[in-house]
């Protein structure tokens, strides 16, 4: 579904991604972790062309992301993305947030879009909040709306960029629950997160990045049981010691 081959990216002379390669198969859940500044967010933003890269190739659903003749909006419509800071549109109601791209990009009628929207809001437990503005919702609720907004496009895969990092601790679980459910339904997911419990529970594979490199790319049990690299060991001991 998502194939990343030898991708390198520079900001000026600073290399943020160093020949990264990995694959995410259909139905697979892959967690990307690593210390901050390791390039993990940059890597998944490259996967739907929100960030450009100078070398290598990323193919999503058979389409090369970096190719100049790729219709990026069309490709992005098939790949859902959830951001650290939710990025709901504050001037629109929850319903309008979900309807917008369904109508403008997929060409659904307002009625079709609203039906889909209400079904998804029900699924994330927020149907009563449909007429509200994002500013009146808690962080956890906003992030669940953001997930529903991405799902409204019937995506083939979902990208999550630290979806719980900006949340108060008591709201993290309501968002993770939605993600776990999604994973169990077989959604293809690439998730940048520090939530190792989530990774342990639903990830098929864990990728560990440090200083722009993919240091470790292993099955979940293998990664947590016996990480091969010293850097991954250190990272895990720091993050799991509580």
């Amino acid at each position: 579904m998502i194939s990343i081959k030898n991708v390198s990216k520079w900001y000026g002379s600073f290399q943020v991604l160093k020949t990264c390669s990995t694959e995410v198969a259909k139905g697979e859940v892959v967690v990307v972790c690593g210390p901050s500044g390791s390039g993990k967010s940059t890597l998944i933003k490259c996967a739907n062309g929100l960030e450009s890269f100078q070398q290598g190739e990323i193919v999503v659903n058979g389409v090369s992301v970096g190719a100049s003749d790729t219709d990026l909006p069309k490709l992005r419509a098939k790949v859902g993305m959830v951001f650290q800071h939710f990025e709901l549109f504050p001037h629109m109601t929850v319903t309008e947030n979900l309807n917008l791209a369904q109508i403008k990009v997929l060409g659904r009628t307002r009625q079709e879009a609203t039906d889909k929207t209400m079904a998804l809001l029900k699924r994330v437990g927020l149907e009563s909040h449909a007429p509200k503005y994002p500013g009146h919702l808690s962080g956890g609720q906003q992030q669940r709306v953001a997930i529903a907004r991405a799902l409204a496009m019937d995506p083939l895969a979902m990208l999550f960029d630290e979806p719980t990092s900006a949340l108060d601790p008591e709201m993290i679980n309501e968002v993770l629950d939605v993600m776990v459910q999604l994973a169990q339904e077989g959604m293809t997911m690439m998730v940048v997160t520090h939530e190792m419990g989530f990774a342990h529970r639903v990830a098929h594979r864990v990728i560990f990045m440090d200083q722009g490199e993919i240091v470790e790319d292993a099955g979940t049990n293998e990664f947590f049981g016996s990480p091969r690299s010293e850097r991954a060991q250190q990272f895990l001991s720091k993050i799991l010691q509580h």
């Binding site: 993305m81 549109f89 403008k104 990009v105 997929l106």
Partner: protein
């Protein structure tokens, strides 16, 4: 103190002052505001474009307009617009353009430079993540701008846009250089005809003052309401 004055001249000329003069002033202000905001927003998008020639061209236009006195721009456009019109439609002689159309074009082009800078700040005030979110949903540049960035930028900048419009309202009085009859022009004509300069200019000043103060107060009220909504 006012024994030598005749304030009745105001009452007598009210219909002319408002139906002719103020109508011109308000129509010109309205056209220049809406045209200027639309054109200014396009200029702002050009200035922020990643394509350098576009950004440079828009930047040059804005800087030129903001560096030349409005009076000169009005003057020059009055003489240039007929020639540009001739060139555009390929006529054999300069197109006749009335004082109103000429000033409408001039003020729209001139104010666009100022509205551009306001909208540019507004667009830049929208977090980068909002644009990413639009793109991530499959929206293209125009949809992201039109649905997500500009509505928010416009809302954030509304008080500043309206303040600029109040300045525009006062500046329209400069059309006297091309003998157009705006509110001040109408007042001046009566003043000269009846020899009542002091009365008419006092009255004109009072009206400009009243409308501008009322406008500023309206902006202030709106600012408070917007602050609550956000």
């Amino acid at each position: 103190m006012f024994s030598g004055f005749d304030f009745d001249v105001i009452g007598r000329s009210l219909p002319y002052l408002f139906r002719e003069g103020m109508a011109f002033t308000l129509t010109l202000t309205g056209i220049a505001m809406s045209g200027g905001i639309v054109f200014g927003t396009l200029l702002a998008m050009m200035r922020l474009a990643k394509f350098p020639p576009l950004a440079l061209a828009a930047g040059a236009y804005v800087n030129l307009m903001r560096s030349v006195p409005l009076l000169l721009v009005i003057f020059w456009f009055y003489f240039l617009v007929p020639w540009i019109g001739q060139w555009l439609i390929g006529a054999t002689q300069p197109v006749r353009v009335g004082a109103f159309l000429s000033s409408a074009i001039t003020f729209t082009m001139f104010e666009a430079a100022y509205y551009c800078e306001i909208m540019r700040a507004g667009i830049q005030s929208i977090a980068r993540g909002q644009v990413s979110a639009g793109y991530a949903l499959g929206l293209d540049y125009w949809q992201t701008m039109g649905q997500i960035v500009l509505p928010q930028a416009f809302r954030n900048m509304l008080p500043v846009l309206l303040t600029q419009t109040i300045i525009l309202f006062q500046d329209t009085s400069l059309v006297y250089v091309i003998s157009a009859t705006d509110f001040l022009g109408a007042a001046a004509k009566i003043a000269n005809r009846d020899g009542r300069l002091v009365e008419m200019y006092l009255f004109a000043a009072a009206i400009y003052f009243a409308i501008s103060v009322a406008g500023s107060y309206g902006v202030k009220l709106m600012q408070q309401r917007l602050a609550v909504i956000r």
